[in-house]
Symmetry: C2
Subunit: 138 residues, 2 copies
């Protein structure tokens, strides 16, 4: 196998972190298939996720590890991790019991852009109040 082939068709897990040391991770509801959010992991966050079964990301804005749910109580229990062909992106199939977006929606993808462009349209309803969730868990 060439090096590329080994990455794409081999069984060794060789996650490709970008120049900032991060890999993209998509959380997808294991039951419904809904994409909940997209976040990033450094090696430590990835190792913690693999070893604990709880989603841990790296917050680019806060520049630190971020155990999903540590402030909101909205944890993600990881059921499966999928890796793409060139190993620079992961899918976490997760079990969740509450909305996952910090704004109050089930998914971060609550708005749609029409083909042809124009304004965004809201296509989801809020499922919780972020302020209440924060108060309850802190």
């Amino acid at each position: 196998m060439t090096a590329d082939n080994k990455i794409e068709l081999g069984t060794d897990f060789e996650p490709k972190f970008d120049s900032n040391g991060l890999i993209t991770a998509i959380s997808q509801d294991a039951k419904t298939g809904q994409i909940l959010m997209v976040a990033y992991m450094n090696k430590e966050a990835l190792d913690l996720t693999i070893n604990t079964g709880q989603a841990v990301f790296y917050s680019r804005s806060r520049k630190k590890l971020w155990k999903k749910g540590e402030e909101s109580g909205h944890y993600q229990k990881v059921k499966q991790i999928l890796v793409d062909c060139d190993q620079d992106c992961l899918i976490l199939k997760v079990e969740v019991d509450q909305g996952q977006c910090h704004v109050g929606y089930m998914s971060c993808f609550y708005r749609t852009l029409k083909l042809g462009g124009g304004k965004l349209e809201f296509t989801a309803e809020k499922v919780y109040d972020p302020k209440e969730a924060y108060k309850k868990n802190n």
Copy 2:
């Protein structure tokens, strides 16, 4: 509204391109919910996608626009575009009639990593021969 609020809760489409001028785009099968691939768009690719309804990405390795399917024949017809809270990631809900991964699988995510780590396991079967697809369309 504050600037953050406007991005997160407004209806203006203000895609946030990264320092390389790219935004992450996830292609998801509109019918099955399967995540097919993750790629990147610069502004031109995004505008073309919005205006033509065909997925166009920017190839980071080839450093040029990449109309998905231009070599393989495996186009993606975009039915809907979803935008996340901070507008730095898009989902394309697409219609496809063939496998989408250049290696020959329906999805780029054809391998699974067990929780606890270890080797990758193949969890999908190839659905086409990439060499034949290339010959047929070139």
